[in-house]
Symmetry: C2
Subunit: 457 residues, 2 copies
């Protein structure tokens, strides 16, 4: 008998799951329906800032697989502008509102919940005014592009995380005057304060006015359109506002159905992406995952995790065996010529997780100092004082700096000590690194630092 | 009583050992003499091709620490143009010929042998002619620069390894017509043949005439200067010849003294860089080291290993504790816009080491496909059929491709399976990688390949 798989959410996690399941089970064995409430499926949400900034000019290039490919080649019944409004576990069916607004029930044997994340949109006076944009979906990105055509002059970006900074750069590229507001004392609060301060300096170099420690209290409007952003101390004129306030797992539908949601508000799954409810899987930004260093659940909205988790769910539904082992919190971003990356825990996170973190910033170059195009970069390594284990690392530098975080992410993954890292056989040639790669220098400095502390007892 | 440390060889390994020992023991505790037969110490030999090619214009920029720094700041008695001609283990002294040609004895309590490598220079008719250059030492590089001033027109590079290719590029940059000759059927025989073929294509794109499977049989000369390179089938006109034939450990001095030399002709040491002879250490290109995948001794001449091994010897002589765990055979190079990297074992090496290697080439891009500046790259992963363990990896691509080898080197180091690699938390943002980093895609493809083979039994 043909089994029925319903996938809620047609982006990275959902369509990866659908594709992998199809790869292993033909249409006679598994009927697949994918429900996407937006107008686009299977696109790179991470590409939106570059669409807005103009580096990417073709909206379609962000779509990794067109709907026809799913429908015609993979025999996946992908329905756009179609919203799942309820999951009924007793009936084993999802209530669906289609493009025309008609309601119906879609029965399932297997269900993948891939409902993504919802943006943190402040419930503040004036938050509904025109000109205030989120940038979570491709539809959001297209709306923002249209807003730019109306020629706004002054933009305020609220939130100094990855998306906020990428959007600030995009708007600078479009010739707007840009201010950035963040309630925290530093941009990029996923970094230690000393590394975050380097980012604040870089933003100011780019002509962005950076207002830190300022919580947004409301928006002023005129004729239904935003005119200013108000904080405790400031009124920042704006005819365009971009909200980059981070996200939380979109788990309301699952929770309403009685599917277990964790303290992060992400849906709970095991390593095979199974929820505790038989036949119900979850993947992507709507789930919580396991941090391999803090040993705590975390919810991290990132396309790369969503793709992997979707693949794992799909392989398992397809009859294979795959698992998602967890994360170490790796992330990377680019703001004009500056590259920023991190992995593992920050100093504060490490202390909260019960370690005794010790860290130091080290400066080096991306290539041999004498080789043309060598750029400056700084690495901070955070090690556990007692064991010497690398707990986390952060990089701020110019071209060629940030991707070195991958080596450090794998070192963190394997619980290497900083002394062990100094022995790693990393690649060296003058166009690629100094003879001691910055990763190795940072490990040496960290090891020496720990040794000095050890001698002091 | 003051101990006496003598270091033979004033480059990466020797001067790292001397500096680290000094860092831990003052001049009253440890007297340090370093003997260097050449005119330069502590320089980047790997930078010579870029000096010859003109990317680096200042010879001095290749020197990482000037002799005065060692003498005045570190109190290390560095003697240039001073050759160690014999080690007498009974007398615990080194026979030394100084700049004036005078012989004397230098007694030691601790000895570091860091005599480097000797180039493979063919014993062929005409090999002594003018215009035939090695490129091993900075003095060689300076001699070649002078030869270029005489305006040669046609160059033949003998040997298609890293140095040969880097020199071929350098000579193309200088406007010479360049031919490359290699006895093997592919350039870069540290890669699998299918990856090496990509390099041969790239070299031809650069206008280099590539002659493979041609063993050099001799050199023609006129008036003491080379005029052509003869192979079995070809006579290649040349007024400049560069030999890039690889190197072997320069262990003759040690061997003559009765210090143990292994089958690679490298000096044998333990992980702390001690030879079996009490108080005698060795480090750098003159030693053999342990390959962590093949579990066999290997001799790999590379500045990064030399620096690490020298550091380890110096820390241990200084009373600390450090060890050099071995290598996984990582290397990287750049030939014009092409980047080449490898780690672990090739398919042939893996088979020789008793594995059942399975490999496939995968193509991807260095950034998200839609992001400006995305470049093509190919990765070949070699996995063990039985266990799925990653045995080696090779990369050929354009800007931003090759440094990804570091992630793979650490995966090889930790004996990860290709399926485990698919779960790694590597950094993703469109300016840095597709949502599946090429490393992860290659691991997925390799895992799928192994699964298909497994099904076939």
């Amino acid at each position: 008998m043909t089994e029925r798989l319903v996938v809620i959410g047609g982006d990275a996690a959902g369509m990866s799951a659908a594709s992998q399941a199809r790869d292993r089970r033909g249409p006679d064995d598994l009927r697949i329906v994918a429900l996407e409430k937006g107008a686009h499926a299977s696109y790179s949400a991470c590409g939106i800032p570059y669409l807005v900034g103009g580096e990417v000019t073709d909206v379609e290039s962000l779509v990794s697989r067109r709907p026809e490919v799913f429908r015609d080649t993979l025999d996946i019944d992908l329905r756009l502008r179609t919203e799942a409004v309820e999951i009924d576990l007793d009936r084993r069916a999802v209530a669906v509102r289609d493009e025309e607004g008609d309601l119906g029930w879609e029965p399932f044997d297997q269900l993948v919940i891939a409902t993504g994340a919802v943006p943190g949109r402040p419930d503040l006076p004036g938050a509904g005014a025109g000109g205030i944009h989120g940038v979570q979906t491709l539809d959001d990105g297209i709306a923002l592009l249209r807003a730019l055509e109306r020629g706004p002059r002054e933009a305020v970006v609220v939130g100094g995380g990855y998306i906020g900074l990428e959007m600030a750069e995009a708007l600078v590229r479009r010739g707007l005057k840009v201010s950035l507001v963040d309630a925290a004392g530093q941009p990029m609060s996923t970094l230690d304060p000393d590394m975050g301060a380097l980012i604040a300096d870089a933003l100011r170099d780019l002509g962005i006015r950076v207002h830190l420690g300022e919580r947004v209290e409301g928006f002023e409007e005129s004729g239904g359109h935003v005119t200013a952003v108000r904080t405790e101390n400031l009124t920042l004129p704006a005819d365009l506002v971009v909200l980059g306030l981070g996200t939380r797992p979109n788990s309301a539908l699952a929770e309403a159905a009685g599917i277990e949601v964790g303290e992060t508000s992400g849906i709970r799954t095991d390593r095979r992406m199974r929820t505790p409810t038989e036949g119900v899987w979850a993947a992507g930004d709507c789930v919580e995952t396991f941090h391999l260093v803090s040993r705590q659940p975390v919810a991290i909205a990132l396309g790369t995790h969503a793709n992997k988790q979707g693949r794992v769910a799909g392989i398992n539904i397809g009859g294979g065996h795959a698992s998602f082992p967890g994360v170490v919190g790796t992330a990377v971003s680019k703001i004009c010529e500056y590259e920023v990356a991190r992995t593992g825990l920050t100093t504060a996170e490490a202390a909260r997780a019960g370690f005794e973190p010790v860290g130091e910033i080290m400066e080096s170059t991306t290539r041999a100092g004498y080789y043309p195009g060598a750029r400056r970069m700084k690495i901070k390594m955070i090690a556990d004082r007692g064991t010497g284990r690398l707990l986390g690392a952060q990089i701020v530098g110019q071209e060629g700096a940030a991707k070195r975080i991958d080596a450090l992410a794998i070192a963190v993954w394997h619980e290497m000590t900083v002394e062990e890292i100094t022995g790693l056989d990393l690649s060296y040639a003058p166009p690629f690194a100094p003879v001691w790669d910055p990763v190795l220098i940072a490990a040496r400095k960290a090891a020496e630092h720990l040794e000095r502390l050890g001698r002091r007892g």
